[in-house]
């Protein structure tokens, strides 16, 4: 069928479907939609849909595939609102009929760009585009028309993370010249506030943690979570610069490798917890902070859970950043000498060296940005664990040596990815699923109320596991690398599970005739 003929009915359909989403919907989204990068503000990535169950997922079948022309290695999480799916890249959004995969409209600002752009945001009938030329746009979700177009404040380039829309604010972040978070009015594009992990003169204690060197680095390239009751947004920050040479910056180097809580109205820092003080291994803390309420040792707590790149699974009190627990989740961790209360003590013997220093976990991390998921019924935390060490090199012993280092797998040894289930509150491992042939980062996960954990694999298998046991229930070879996280949505009473594999969006459902 020709493109023209395919488009016409889709356009009519779009006009007939109301697609107005207001702030209230983001607070309590209908499970049929997937409105934010992590599904909901608490970033649990758990779909309440349960038509697809552990009992029937074995019959799951591909319903459609949409090829995103000119793209590869897409990392975007699609947004689905009222039966329409939005897939983003820098400078671009494609709007699809979420039942058929037929394109409804495409917005493409020149030039065509590729890169690790991880999703858009949806609010009040608007979608947001990060451009490659340092602009931020809002599109009309009905037809892709540009509603506003603003230059990013201070002329900065935004990173590829999906924007977080909280309390009518569009929250974005970036890496250069150093890490930053900015907020804009999501309706008008008006700039509101900025925060940076680089401490200023008004924060002498943090400034002193750099031993006199000018604080630098700390990129922020993954979206965060939001607690509307506490009025706080939670983000991770990246590694200090120079990345591999720590001797010029003696001290903890705040606020590098931290989980930070910011007031959503002002951008002021409420608290920070530093996972990796004085980092020389690129253990940034950009893994998604997941917000969970529950009983912690018999007492109700508002918790923040994070599986960190440095090999520890953290439980914090998210009201004040209090350290509750850290549990080692990979076999070997040797970058630290021990703990001083809730603060790890790095081991300088594992600093990068000219001849190479073996360190565990590797610089790629014991886990990385691919999203974890939390099942509120089972109290299980699922994430992608990467077992393996690396060799950290520096090309010169010169102090303040630049960027002459690389992430380096050991000769003859490959890293190995596992889908790993932890008891969310004790941090104890419940089960493991080995992703054969997956060695690097891997895609993110999604749990569902149907008891199915969707776990895509690096080289294209889209696998469904039993949430309780990790047993394989179903799999499908999408034929290309998967680096994105899956989502679930429902249209006309039918549940779909979708994931992007390189340049193709796949959507799966049960055979027609409904769930049996």
């Amino acid at each position: 069928m020709g493109l023209k003929h395919a488009l016409l009915p889709s356009l009519l359909l779009a006009a007939a479907v109301p697609s107005l989403v207001v702030a209230q919907d983001l607070l309590k989204p209908n499970p049929k939609d997937w409105l934010t990068y992590s599904g909901q503000y608490h970033a649990q990535r758990h779909s309440a849909l349960k038509q697809i169950t552990a009992a029937n997922v074995g019959r799951l079948q591909a319903k459609w595939v949409y090829h995103m022309t000119g793209q590869k290695d897409l990392e975007a999480v699609p947004i689905i609102a009222n039966g329409v799916m939005y897939v983003s890249q820098y400078n671009r959004i494609d709007a699809l009929d979420a039942r058929s995969g037929n394109i409804i409209w495409q917005y493409q600002r020149q030039p065509i760009a590729t890169g690790a752009q991880r999703g858009t945001g949806f609010w009040n009938n608007k979608l947001y585009v990060t451009t490659s030329d340092k602009h931020l746009l809002a599109l009309d979700a009905r037809n892709g028309s540009v509603l506003w177009d603003v230059a990013v404040h201070d002329g900065l380039q935004l990173a590829g993370q999906a924007p977080l829309i909280a309390k009518g604010k569009l929250i974005v972040s970036g890496n250069q010249p150093h890490g930053f978070i900015q907020a804009y009015d999501a309706d008008t594009g008006q700039y509101l506030w900025s925060w940076t992990p680089v401490p200023g003169a008004d924060d002498p204690k943090a400034l002193a943690s750099w031993g006199g060197q000018k604080p630098d680095g700390m990129p922020i390239w993954v979206s965060g979570s939001f607690d509307p009751d506490l009025n706080l947004i939670y983000y991770g920050t990246g590694q200090p610069e120079p990345q591999w040479a720590g001797e010029g910056r003696p001290g903890d180097n705040l606020y590098s490798d931290c989980i930070v809580a910011l007031d959503v109205d002002t951008g002021k820092l409420k608290w920070a917890y530093q996972n990796t003080p004085h980092d020389t291994h690129d253990y940034d803390s950009l893994e998604m902070p997941v917000l969970v309420n529950g009983n912690w040792k018999g007492k109700p707590r508002k918790m923040l859970l994070q599986a960190n790149r440095n090999g520890f699974y953290y439980v914090l009190d998210r009201t004040n950043g209090e350290f509750l627990q850290a549990t080692q989740f990979v076999k070997k961790v040797d970058w630290l000498k021990g703990w001083d209360g809730g603060k790890p003590i790095p081991d300088p013997a594992h600093d990068p060296s000219v001849k190479g220093t073996t360190t565990c976990p590797s610089t790629a991390g014991a886990t990385n940005w691919p999203s974890p998921t939390y099942d509120p019924a089972l109290h299980m935390f699922y994430f992608v664990a990467q077992e393996g060490c690396g060799i950290n090199l520096r090309d010169t012993a010169r102090n303040y040596a630049g960027t002459g280092y690389l992430e380096s797998p050991e000769e003859g040894k490959t890293w190995q990815l596992f889908t790993r289930a932890l008891d969310a509150f004790t941090g104890k491992k419940v089960w493991d699923y080995e992703q054969v042939t997956s060695h690097h980062y891997g895609p993110g996960l999604m749990s569902t109320a149907g008891g199915v954990l969707f776990s895509p694999e690096e080289f294209g298998q889209f696998t469904a596991l039993d949430s309780k046991t990790g047993k394989v229930l179903w799999h499908f070879n999408t034929g290309d690398v998967i680096t994105a996280s899956p989502v679930s949505y429902s249209v006309d009473g039918k549940q779909y599970v979708a994931v992007i594999s390189s340049s193709n969006v796949f959507s799966f459902g049960l055979p027609d005739g409904g769930a049996k």
Partner: protein, 296 residues
């Protein structure tokens, strides 16, 4: 309807731009350091302190950028001045940043000279020696044909070498003949598109339910299946859940050719191997085949 027209126009624009880029004559200046080995070495030093975060040490492919030393030939920037421009001013629409302000023009030229030198494969400068004698070593004393095929002659267990010199650098071929562990630069980026077994050729022993064991080379695998080229030169397809798999720690490729061959035999073999393949066409950004996507 308007959208369809808009897409068609866009496609035409892109095609025209591609054609223009391919046809663009090299009007920019030549690299002033093109044949200056000291400057190229300096460029290597600058590269390894400036570019490795994305492109990897010595261009071996890093976390975020393409490996510049890989044998792929789809270079977007072909001329000296284009490479200079990419380094100095960055590449719009990609994460490649501008280095103006960080490197002066002389330094950019030196890095550009080093980067250009990373390109190409063995066939661009074949090794000297007696090619016919080298082929005799390949078929005879070296026993290369017991695993490898060249132009339809040999075994199908190992990699086909018909086009070897168009795919590998000379150093990489020497490493393969002499080192147990030899690295081949892949396409790079954070997500390699080649499955590991396809480039590593690991050896497995697979035992089936009836107790029979098959030894062979793993061509691919995933969590659910295995594809094995048996030493019997038959393809075996297995369900992982129905077999027992042992991964052998060592590959089949001998790595002592520098010892078991005389120096002349080794050099002649290298002369033969570095001529296997076809000299590529002049570098171009892309090849557009007729009967393309202009449907509807």
């Amino acid at each position: 309807m308007r959208l369809a027209v808009a897409i068609a126009v866009l496609a035409l624009t892109v095609t025209a731009a591609d054609a223009q880029r391919r046809a663009a004559p090299d009007t920019g200046p030549r690299n002033p350091f093109a044949d200056n080995q000291a400057a190229i070495d300096e460029g290597r030093g600058l590269f390894n302190t400036t570019c490795t975060g994305c492109h990897g040490a010595n261009g071996a492919a890093g976390e975020f950028g393409p490996g510049l030393a890989i044998p792929g030939r789809s270079y977007a920037r072909t001329t000296d001045s284009q490479i200079f421009d990419a380094i100095k001013n960055g590449i719009t629409g990609t994460p490649m940043p501008a280095h103006a302000g960080k490197l002066n023009d002389d330094q950019v030229w030196k890095v550009a000279a080093y980067v250009k030198g990373l390109r190409g494969t063995a066939i661009d400068a074949p090794s000297p020696g007696d090619v016919a004698a080298g082929e005799a070593v390949f078929r005879g004393k070296g026993q290369c044909g017991s695993c490898h095929m060249v132009k339809g002659q040999g075994s199908i267990v190992g990699p086909d070498l018909t086009n070897l010199a168009s795919l590998r650098k000379t150093n990489s071929i020497i490493d393969a003949l002499t080192k147990e562990q030899h690295r081949v630069y892949g396409p790079g980026g954070a997500q390699p598109h080649l499955l590991t077994p396809l480039s590593v050729w690991p050896v497995v022993r697979v035992t089936t339910a009836d107790g029979k064991t098959m030894r062979g080379v793993l061509r691919n695998e995933d969590s659910f299946s295995l594809q094995v080229m048996g030493l019997d030169q038959q393809l075996h397809l297995y369900d992982r859940s129905k077999v027992k798999v042992v991964y052998e720690p060592k590959g089949l490729m001998p790595s002592d050719y520098d010892k078991k061959l005389s120096k002349d035999e080794f050099n002649n073999l290298l002369a033969y191997l570095t001529r296997l393949g076809t000299l590529p066409q002049p570098a171009s950004a892309a090849v557009k085949m007729p009967g393309g996507p202009e449907r509807d």
